[in-house]
């Protein structure tokens, strides 16, 4: 549906997008995730014809959208967009939602009916005659969503639609996004710096970093098999260890500063790699009880910090390099873990994701 072909955008000497290539399929929810300033908004603005790319092409259903100026309007009218900052026209809620329909010359009775439906969907039916400026940020954003979807766009673009909202409004907007996609079959592209939101909503995720898609894949792929060290860091993998692949009795192993770690990797001996290990996959046990019955990586170490995090504690252990794990408070107490405790850290070779170091 939407093809991004080596799209770049420079603002002066600043390269915001530097060759983005990817594809959004018809009917899917596609999330663009990436750190602040990675060009997510810029990419959405280019798709919505609000800015012109410096290089490359964007095609929608095969048509290069920035090539023909006379087609601007019909292409733009295929799309609806909601912006990060909630913005409403200084008019009633109903008049706000009507704007796109009026632009398309819809009849008064049709506009009336469609506004009713749209406001019902976003749960603001009783706000119809309220002045939009008097609403809360979350309500304004729902008006913006109703305004964008009432024109029944084929593509809905959402630029960090929940960035400044309270948790209840966030849940509402997320729920609406899923429903619009499911009930109307609208192709939805949204950006977020919240990787978990990407995971919750998207069929596929594009990780935008340094002006390119570092990885495009299903949430599962991106979260469990990040393509690079940077993606791994962004999707919340805390333990990233540098090493070099060595071969050891036919199975793969990685030498990390003199410590051998068993892992499955497609890379040959001598390759410089990063090991990504999720905190959840790391077990910590007191050193004395460390009997070696476990067929995996068992590393002795010293606890360097115990930091509370919600109902859990993050325990960091120095085993030559730092590894951290998430333990419940009770477990921390039971095992009597504190700074300086001698422990053993264990994890299976399967839980180690190996990426090539660049």
């Amino acid at each position: 549906m939407i093809e991004l072909d080596n799209v770049s955008k420079y603002f002066g000497d600043t390269r915001v997008l530097d060759g983005v290539t990817g594809k959004v399929n018809r009917g899917e929810i596609f999330a663009i995730i990436g750190p602040s300033g990675s060009g997510k908004s810029t990419l959405l603005r280019l798709i919505d014809l609000l800015d012109t790319p410096t290089g490359g092409a964007i095609r929608i259903s095969g048509t290069e959208i920035h090539a023909q100026h006379e087609k601007d309007l019909s292409i733009r009218r295929m799309m609806g967009m909601v912006f990060q900052k909630p913005a409403v026209f200084n008019a009633t809620v109903a008049e706000n939602v009507a704007v796109g329909l009026r632009f398309r010359g819809a009849s008064k009775s049709e506009i009336d009916a469609r506004i009713g439906e749209a406001l019902d969907t976003v749960g603001l039916a009783s706000y119809r005659e309220r002045r939009a400026r008097t609403l809360s940020g979350g309500e304004m954003q729902r008006v913006a969503l109703a305004r964008a979807m009432v024109i029944e766009p084929e593509i809905l673009l959402l630029d960090e639609p929940t960035a400044n909202l309270d948790p209840v409004s966030v849940a509402m907007i997320e729920n609406l996004v899923v429903r619009i996609n499911r009930d109307l079959g609208t192709t939805i592209v949204f950006s977020t710096h919240d990787m978990y939101q990407g995971q919750r909503l998207a069929h596929r995720i594009g990780v935008l970093m340094n002006g390119v898609f570092s990885q495009v894949g299903t949430p599962r792929e991106v979260f469990t098999l990040p393509a690079s060290r940077e993606v791994a860091r962004f999707v919340g993998i805390e333990n990233i260890v540098e090493g070099v692949v060595v071969s050891e009795n036919g199975t793969s192993a990685v030498d990390a500063g003199g410590i051998r770690i068993r892992a499955r990797s497609p890379f040959g001996a001598g390759e410089a790699v990063s090991l990504c290990i999720r905190s959840e996959d790391i077990r910590i046990a007191p050193a004395i009880r460390g009997r070696r019955v476990f067929d995996g990586n068992i590393l002795p170490g010293t606890v360097t910090s115990v930091v509370p995090r919600g109902p859990f504690s993050r325990v960091t252990v120095d085993c030559g390099f730092a590894l951290s794990s998430i333990l419940s408070w009770k477990k921390v107490d039971d095992l009597d873990i504190r700074e300086g405790s001698q422990v053993v850290v264990s994890f299976s070779p399967e839980s180690v994701h190996v990426v090539r170091r660049e």
Partner: protein
């Protein structure tokens, strides 16, 4: 001191009894300045929009020039129009000197820069997200312009009020090209509130001056009050 108090009392009497002379002057002032404001709006608002949304070389300098002309002295405008429409001027054949039309022309030119400049400010103050939203909703160029103007309507209304205020309160141009004539017919007279105050004061008719001054103030306050009411609705 006694004279001033007596003057004020007499002025109030003139207003309360709707003194025909005072009322005629007040109505004439409003008609002339309102006409000038309407004509200036017709030029200033589209011009302001064109400058705000346009991209052309010298745009910044043009805006600077317009802002400089905010403080255009009224007598200079009067003098300029006088030279153009006096018998020996290029438009002398039109016999416009000392007519209400001449005053309307002078006031229109006087308030054109400030109205254009304030229109530019009003439009550029519209949230960029609102502008993007209009484009993303598929507005044509005209629909876009109309809706941005609509969004800035209160600021534009204030612009019109400022223009009217400046037009009705100026005296320099009115006296130069109008001549403060009290003719037999309402339409050919050019005596307005400001020129009348100036004349009556110099003739020692203090109460008449105070009455006219109060009317002028009430008009100015009334316009502002109306604008504020609309803006807070």
């Amino acid at each position: 001191m006694y004279e001033i108090v007596e003057g004020v009392l007499e002025a109030l009497r003139l207003i309360v009894t709707l003194d025909p002379d005072v009322m005629a002057i007040a109505v004439r002032s409003i008609v002339i300045s309102l006409t000038a404001t309407i004509i200036a709006s017709i030029f200033a608002i589209p011009l302001g929009a064109a400058i705000n949304f346009g991209t052309f070389p010298g745009r910044k300098s043009l805006i600077n020039l317009i802002q400089t002309l905010y403080s255009l002295p009224t007598v200079i405008v009067g003098l300029l129009i006088f030279l153009l429409i006096s018998r020996v001027g290029p438009f002398g054949f039109m016999r416009l000197l000392f007519t209400p039309t001449a005053m309307i022309i002078a006031q229109t030119i006087l308030i054109l820069p400030i109205m254009t400049g304030l229109t530019i400010s009003a439009l550029s103050a519209v949230d960029p997200v609102i502008r993007d939203t209009l484009r993303s909703l598929g507005a044509t160029r005209l629909q876009f312009l109309v809706n941005v103007l609509k969004e800035a309507r209160f600021a534009i209304l204030a612009t019109v009020a400022v223009g009217f205020g400046r037009a009705i309160s100026e005296v320099g141009a009115a006296i130069l090209v109008g001549g403060n004539i009290a003719a037999s017919s309402f339409a050919s007279s050019t005596r307005v509130l400001t020129t009348a105050i100036s004349l009556e004061t110099s003739m020692g008719n203090i109460s008449q001056s105070i009455a006219l001054g109060i009317v002028l103030l009430v008009i100015a306050l009334g316009v502002n009050l109306a604008i504020t009411t609309v803006q807070h609705r």
